[in-house]
Amino acid sequence: MTAGPDGAQVRVEHIWGTAITLDLRDPGDPDRADAAFAWFRRVDDLFSTWRPESEISRLGRRELTTADASPEVREVLELCDRVRDESNGAFDVRFGADPRVVPREGFGPIDPSGLVKGWALQRAAERLRAGGAENFAINAGGDVIVAGRPAPGSEWRVGIQHPWQRDKVAMVLGVSDVGIATSGRYERGDHVIDPRSGMPATLLMSVTVVADDLALADAYATAALVKGGDGARWLADRRLAAATISDDGIVTTNQWLRALRLADTELGSFSPAGPRK
């Protein structure tokens, strides 16, 4: 924990293979950060597809039944099933159990990684609020929750990563009390598979969803990325604030997203050199 500008208490830990930053702006209660990071570690224990002993790995090997799993695991799997049904199968955490899928380390038969990070942050935010925190931000490898304000009279400014220019953001949103999730194909190549066809997702390089619940935002962003050309409309039908960036650099925003976008940050000319290999 370290003191930052504006009296912020900032703590970063490396969990889930990524950096989690907790930025608390209310006068200090050091136990809050400890509790939040203890929660993140518990989530890793339960859900890591890289750990053979995690509940999610044991479920994948059929050593554990859903009925015997922890309440957290059951809740996450129920949410995953809900998004699978809503997306007509574009989001399916059991895709890895398909016998045609070649097993890969870290990608289990049941892999809720597309939702669990957002879900864990959402629950962490609820715990922080229950403990009296009102103004904070959490960022876990690109999934972001903001609450209240960074300082009186200002709002949280959250950038959306430019897909192929590392030192730029595609736009900046002014937000409060929402979750922002971005799914993209630019970080780990064409690793996003359409569960319906088994083929890599195409057309969209990046999908950002802003919603009250980061768990759903996370999963919806992944589903829309898989849906490709139908993704933006599918999100709009659900009245979700969303921005998509296509492989050829076309930025599409809907009315709810535009209400959050800060005017001074829109890229005047979006002229990508082309997607990274």
Partner: protein
């Protein structure tokens, strides 16, 4: 979920900026200088106008000026450029070591001295996470942004070595 790695509790302010972007041009406890022109974000922070259009009242000193309108004043130390090597961090994928370049108290560059290349997974981390974290570390001090939403990335030992380098720079 990616492979579990040892938890690193980061305590120095600069590392906290890896994934977190403080917005104020004000002089802070981290003593971050204002962004240099080479690191300027795509659009000027709206608060920049405040810093240039509000001269201190007569009789007030820079130190006495409210921090929200005080321009970050370059100090003598801000002109000194030095490099610091982080420790060699052994990860599951190989050894990682980074070097930071500081101008005064400002982080101006991060270079990887060693990255693992022995396995495909290592190459993935080396090729993707390192540039990502480098740009985030630099952008942290230049962009008027609190956080970045993007596709998830992995970091391995890079953060740990970066932390060590920054600690040495601040020692």
């Amino acid at each position: 979920m990616r492979r579990a790695v040892p938890v690193i509790a980061a305590t120095a302010g600069a590392l906290a900026l890896l994934a977190n972007f403080h917005t104020r041009p004000a002089v802070s406890s981290l003593a971050l200088a204002s962004p240099s022109s080479t690191l300027a974000p795509t659009s000027a922070p709206p608060t920049a106008a405040t810093t240039t259009s509000a001269p201190p009242a007569p009789g007030s000193t820079a130190a006495g000026t409210p921090s929200t309108v005080a321009p970050a004043t370059p100090t003598t130390a801000a002109t000194v450029t030095r490099t610091f090597n982080g420790p060699v961090v052994t990860t599951d994928y190989g050894d990682v070591q980074v070097r930071v370049t500081m101008r005064g108290t400002q982080l101006v560059d991060v270079q990887a001295l060693q990255l693992p290349f022995d396995r495909s997974r290592s190459q993935q981390i080396s090729a993707e996470a390192a540039p990502m974290l480098r740009s985030e570390a630099l952008r942290a001090q230049s962009a008027n942004i609190n956080a970045i939403s993007g596709a998830s990335y992995t970091s391995g030992g890079y953060i740990q070595s970066l932390q060590g380098a920054i600690d040495r720079a601040r020692a």
